[in-house]
Amino acid sequence: MTAPLSSADLPVSYIGKSVPRPNARRLLAGRGQYVDDLRLPRLVHVAFLRSPHAHARLKSLDVAAALRAPGVVRVVTAKDLVGRCMPWVGTLTHFKGMKSAPQHPLVSARATWQGEPIAAVVAESRALAEDAVALIEIAWEELPPLTDMDAALAPGAAPLHAELGDNLCFGRTIDAGAVDEAFAKADCVVEESYSFARHTGVCLEPRSILANFDPADGTLTVHYSSQAPHMMKEIFARHFNLPESAVRVICTDVGGSYGIKIHVYPDDMTTVAIALLLGRPVKFIADRLESFVSDIHAREHRIAARMALAKDGTIAALTIDDVTGIGPYSTYPRTSAVEGNQVVGLAGAWYRCRNYRAQLRVAFQTKPPTTQYRAVGHPIATAVTEALVDRAAAALGLDPAELRRRNLIPDDAYPWTTASGLKFEKLSQQAALAKLLALMDYDGLRREQVALRSRGIYRGIGLACFVELTNPGPAFYGVGGAPISAQDGCTVRLDPGGSVTCATGVTEQGQGTETMVAQIVAGTLGLTLDKVRVVTGDTERTPYGGGTWASRGCGIGGEAALQGARALKANILALAGAMLQAEPAALDLAGGWVVDRAGNRRIGLDEVGRAAYFRGDTLPPGVQPELVATRHYMPRQYPFAFTNGAQASYLELDIETGFVKLLKHWVVEDCGRVVNPLLVEEQIRGGVVQGIGGALFEECIYDERGQLLNGTLADYLVPMAGEMPDIVVEHIETPTAESVLGAKGAGEAGTGGAPAAVMNAVNDALAPFKVRVTSQPISPRRVLEALGKA
């Protein structure tokens, strides 16, 4: 590992520059290429018959009428796929004791959630396929739904999958330090229970897949709206018994994903199976109604928590008990245990307290499968911890900011290992909080709050300190047997005209991956951005990589790009040195030229390129140009690069109606080296609003029969522009020493901290009334119920 970037590197590079994304222009011109935009010859379309029941035995299925319907090419049921698609099991070996039943692409005997795919109609158009779905005759025997997590985990509860014995997918306990003793001695104990409603991603581009099998050469090409093409290539090869080299996955433009499009879906696997059966291109785009019952859901938790403190506010101990419901199957290949595992791993982690006990129980239920979605576990862990801290502050008569100050890990105390075993390399918690309080004029807002209260206007200020895990190493997934890559690679090539083509294994969903990589490569090679072309998302054209998830794109993909660009630079300078009879060490790259130390232009990059590719005759003997370099990178020292931040929400609560008006939001975040502040800030803002969605608006409402009651965009409330605040974002940079670039990740921090800040602000507004709301989403109804007005 070479030395970290110094300030000498920065002025001539793009690192730290707010450059607009070159590849965004075409998106703004209506020239994006999403899966549904692709037209292939003989393309057919799939529509699914889905279970109308949360739990039911399939008694009979008659597709004869559907087969005769106009435009129908095929109707596929489970029996057509026997032996064609290996079922999958969503467990990983490093989650001890985890269990889950095998999942198949289509239901053969029993449906376990409303929306589970049963049969697929393949037709010349989606409309004709839907017409035929309506003609399928199906008889069900309804079985008792299992919607309630407690009922699922009660002793003697009927197991949803008999072979598993009970409904506990995974359990974990943590017991660190001396928790009981700490509670016994505490001056102050606060306890509270929280519930977080299941909600879902609602990507604007629905899940989209177009699978094409060419029987003549045995190749499967899947155009997929996905975050991880290499992982899916591996999975398709494995489960459809195809040679690895026969499978290609291509991700072009992806209309939003946030973790929704990184899991294996039975309807997608069915679509691939149909392509293999038919030998022609087959497309499935989930419509909005089916998205609500077939996209993965997230974040259904109930948590009981207690905190013990000394009267000076020092947190002495923390306990949490988390029950989370994940649907009938743990998802594949990442498992549905990670969310709850992160909750118990992360709660309280940014405070000094060493006495920590946690219990996690992950329960099966008859609702859509539930798993990782942006910020996985962090919103919950942060909301619970920060709510307890505010509650404790009130109990002790301390200002909430002051209580945090007294407990945050000091900025000079690193490296640090948390009670739950997480390793922090170096964070800036105290600095972030201080910067936040100054940025928002905390004291001024408190004064304003007091003044307005006397006029019957109730404003709330909510703080949230947090950490966010990024740049995961192989101990996250790979160690447990998942085909998930913690490393990533970048190939950088100089072309004869002096421009650079660069292929990376990390992918783009709009966060700016391509721009970030281009900035790093261009800066390293002394080129302007327009001279660098970045290729992503195609397993046939990029190095083997992990894709984009867990905020790894810049920290891992960016480092690979930096290393690859540096390696290419060395090769260029070696060749230039040979051509100029100069020492490569005395040369550098700037403005598209090979220059000497004084900055004088010696030879153009295009001339070097032409010499290498067309005029090998002019090169000295023994010189073999290699104007392409590939480097891979994986973090080795720390299992994750943790980042940190502090957020604040300022809002006004209408205590007569229960309505919340968000006035403003602030984020101070430390994601290490910032390559492009503009892109990072907008990731933060988007993440904050997504978190606000879960805090105030979003909820998949189920009745006791496991029926989704609000599965349209009219009834499921996503945040829209009218209700969202302006969001101020500031940075602190604590680079990681693990990599040369020093970047950590930034994609999820906004979502991790926002629900905590908003819930704290609501409860701060309610403080004069001595009531609290601890259920998210915090709807007007929940506020009025707390106030006893409804």
Partner: protein
């Protein structure tokens, strides 16, 4: 979510439309703005055999001043209603309500008559026409008839329109007091959780007369008669009188008790605003 197949007709006259409606019977649906009908088709909640596109019927268009008020054609787009100087002058309650209807793209297609015929209990315009004592003109195979707005809305998506009738226009007397319009919705443009449409005549710092119509609370827009009478006594009495006026129904956003509570809050705020504006 592709609509099921249907036949399509675009009659050029009201009589032609009525004939198609009568001939097809239950299998026909009128297509005006389509902002409620087409979602239902896309979700396959409805599968009509024939869609009768009435967007070309000039008999249903236009906003005109008439003696004592205005006449608003059923095909008037929400956007046109909201932009109309005539409406702003003679029935400003409607002008105040329009910005709350969904969003601009919806308002450019959705129609005044369509909203009334749809009779969503949480919609703004049904409450407004009740508050304004509108007379609704209806055409059918048996000729024309008029129904008072207060008698038109029966229940959830249920009106006095027979299946073979078409709403032609609303005759709206000039508004008799200052506009009262308040709506509580989770997000801009959403259907109301609770809303109040009406008017108040303020004299000497008191509300002398008021028409109060709540929407989003009951199965239809409902006039709070007891509350408007009780305003003469006190605002508290009026809020209490809502118990006899309203029969709130729970939905995903609010229990019946919460809707009742919100109605009271809206009444207080609307009256306070009316008195402040008049002062």
């Amino acid at each position: 979510m592709k609509a099921p197949p249907f036949r399509y007709a675009r009659p050029r006259t009201l009589d032609a439309a009525l004939k198609l409606l009568a001939d097809e019977g239950d299998g026909a649906r009128l297509l005006a703005g389509g902002q409620s009908l087409v979602p239902a088709l896309n979700m396959r909640l409805l599968e009509p055999a024939l869609l009768i596109d009435i967007n070309g019927l000039s008999e249903l268009s236009g906003i005109a001043e008439i003696a004592g008020g205005i006449c608003v054609g059923a095909l008037t787009r929400h956007a046109a209603l909201g932009a109309s100087a005539i409406v702003a002058r003679r029935a400003p309650l409607l002008t105040a309500a329009v910005p709350f209807i969904a969003h601009e793209a919806i308002r450019n297609r959705g129609t005044f008559g369509g909203s009334l015929a749809q009779a969503d209990p949480a919609a703004e315009l049904p409450a407004c026409v009740v508050a304004l004592d509108a007379q609704l003109e209806i055409a059918g195979p048996r000729g024309r008839r008029r129904v008072a707005a207060r008698d038109f809305f029966k229940g959830v998506y249920e009106t006095a329109l027979a299946h073979d009738e078409i709403l032609v226009a609303a005759e709206i007397p000039a508004q008799r007091g200052a506009t009262l319009f308040l709506e509580l919705a989770r997000r801009q443009g959403d259907y109301a959780i609770a809303g109040l449409a009406g008017w108040a005549a303020v004299q000497q710092d008191r509300i002398a007369e008021a028409r109060l119509v709540f929407f989003g609370t009951d199965i239809r827009a409902v006039e709070a008669k007891a509350a408007s009478v009780a305003l003469a006594t006190s605002l508290d009495a009026a809020v209490a009188a809502l118990d006899s006026d309203l029969t709130p129904v729970a939905d995903l956003n609010a229990s019946a008790a919460m809707k009742r509570h919100l109605a009271g809050a809206l009444l207080r705020r609307a009256c306070a605003a009316a008195l402040t504006r008049a002062a």
